[in-house]
């Protein structure tokens, strides 16, 4: 069985579990609604300054959803010690890693599909900039977050205080990507400012960390 097939089996399994319980999808829907309701009281973006802020709000909602996804993603493997069972199989650790990343990225993109249109409609926003470039930003940003998140989540699964450790590691690492996506989104909403440079930052970020993660994953997981 090839590397990719293994990865895709992981993705299929996670999607199937999700289809059964719909845990994540619903949690995300909730987040989206919550953010919308809360902000609609105090926030009707009229000025450009406030549109910039909307981009921050959007990404914060997105990130919270993301943390939920990562959390649940590894919960699923911890119930009944399934993670141990995965380690028993001959499947390459990095294929498992890629599978988990892809599944998590899909869930996050799903979150985006729910969140973004709601945001645009409720806050009367529209993309004055390049929408397709922004979609690229979305995908690149999601991948960047997911690669690091999955790596560290896997690394810390068995640490006692992992709930602390995961964000401690993940947050500072992700800051460049976060800045880039927020700035790029602001640029897309306002139709001014450079998206190009932020896309380059994101590409660099993704390439560097994906490479590092693939190189180091086996070592880190087998070390136990």
């Amino acid at each position: 069985m090839s590397y990719w097939t293994t990865a895709m089996r992981i993705v299929a399994k996670d999607l199937l579990s999700e289809a059964r319980t719909r845990e994540m999808t619903n949690a995300m829907l909730f987040f989206a609604l919550l953010v919308l309701v809360l902000f609609s009281f105090s926030f009707q973006p009229a000025s450009d300054e406030e549109r910039r802020l909307a981009s921050g709000v959007l990404w914060i909602a997105f990130l919270f959803a993301g943390m939920g996804v990562l959390d649940r993603s590894f919960w699923r493997e911890r119930v009944n010690d399934c993670l141990d069972a995965l380690r028993l199989t001959p499947a390459s650790a990095s294929a498992l890693f890629v599978g988990k990343c892809v599944a998590n990225a899909l869930f996050l993109l799903l979150a985006a599909v729910i969140l973004v249109p709601l945001f645009l409609v409720f806050f009367d926003l529209s993309f004055r900039g390049d929408v397709r470039a922004w979609l690229l930003v979305l995908v690149l940003g999601t991948w960047g977050l997911v690669v690091n998140g999955t790596f560290f989540a896997a690394m810390t699964t068995n640490v006692r205080s992992r709930e602390l450790l995961l964000p401690l590691l993940l947050l500072p690492i992700s800051v460049p990507a976060l800045v880039a996506v927020v700035e790029a989104t602001a640029a897309a909403l306002l139709g001014e400012g450079a998206m190009r440079v932020w896309i380059q930052v994101l590409i660099a970020f993704d390439v560097i960390y994906t490479t590092l993660a693939l190189l180091l994953f086996e070592t880190v997981v087998e070390g136990t």
Binding site: T156, L216, V220
Partner: protein, 238 residues
């Protein structure tokens, strides 16, 4: 594995040398260098501000190399190098982060702003604090060192960003004055003062680093002895 009980003589020589260099640094920074035209006396913090940042860069670079070496060789000494460098690096990073706002308040009128340089510096500092915390939290895990090494490599990605941030983006923070191209450049006496300070800080780094490294090795030795003792104890009780 047997570490020297007493500190080696060269180390005390180094401490003396460092002390001299630090005094020279103070003299240069506060005395020999001219007062800057627009900012006045506050600008003299510049020598410490920049030296500490550069020393932190050096420390983090050593940490990076040691992390790679540890993953390759799996020898605990590389891990000891890595943790020592990171810890001392965080100390110098802290000096940079404290002197920055002290300078910023009178010059910019605010303590802090979120431009690329300041943010990336803060993030770099946070990363290495996280690195140290990771070691602490995973202390009982068998793969603690491997994880730390992996994270060290991940973290180092931010260091070049800090350095390049004033070159890539428009920042509130002043652009490069050393090695910055055509329009940059400073008075030669300032240049000299900066380098004396930097040298003094580098020496200080070596002193602290070697001390910390020794401590780490001794700790490992102690742990090994403890384990052996525990074993003997168990063998008795069989």
């Amino acid at each position: 594995m047997r570490t020297e009980r007493a500190l080696p003589r060269w180390w005390f020589g180094l401490v003396g040398l460092t002390a001299v260099a630090l005094v020279l640094g103070v003299l240069h920074a506060l005395w020999f260098a001219p007062t800057e035209r627009t900012m006045g006396t506050v600008q003299r913090i510049f020598y410490y501000h920049v030296s500490s940042a550069w020393t932190a860069f050096v420390a983090f670079f050593i940490n990076f190399l040691a992390c790679v070496a540890y993953l390759k060789a799996r020898h605990p000494k590389w891990d000891a190098v890595a943790v020592s460098a990171a810890e001392v690096g965080v100390v110098f990073g802290t000096v940079n982060l404290i002197t920055g706002p002290i300078w910023a308040k009178p010059v910019w009128g605010i303590w802090w702003t979120w431009d690329a340089r300041l943010t990336s510096t803060l993030v770099m500092w946070l990363l290495y604090v996280s690195y140290l915390l990771l070691r602490q939290f995973a202390a009982e895990q068998p793969s603690q060192r491997i994880w730390a090494a992996a994270f060290g490599i991940f973290a180092f990605v931010d260091v070049p960003i800090v350095y390049l941030s004033i070159r890539l983006w428009r920042t509130q923070h002043p652009g490069p004055v050393i090695a910055g191209g055509e329009q940059s450049g400073i008075d030669p006496r300032m240049f000299l003062a900066l380098h004396v300070c930097f040298l003094a800080f580098l020496l200080l780094f070596v002193v602290l680093f070697s001390w910390r490294y020794r401590l780490e090795r001794q700790r490992a030795e102690l742990a090994e002895l403890r384990a052996r003792l525990h074993r003997l104890h168990l063998e008795r009780s069989v």
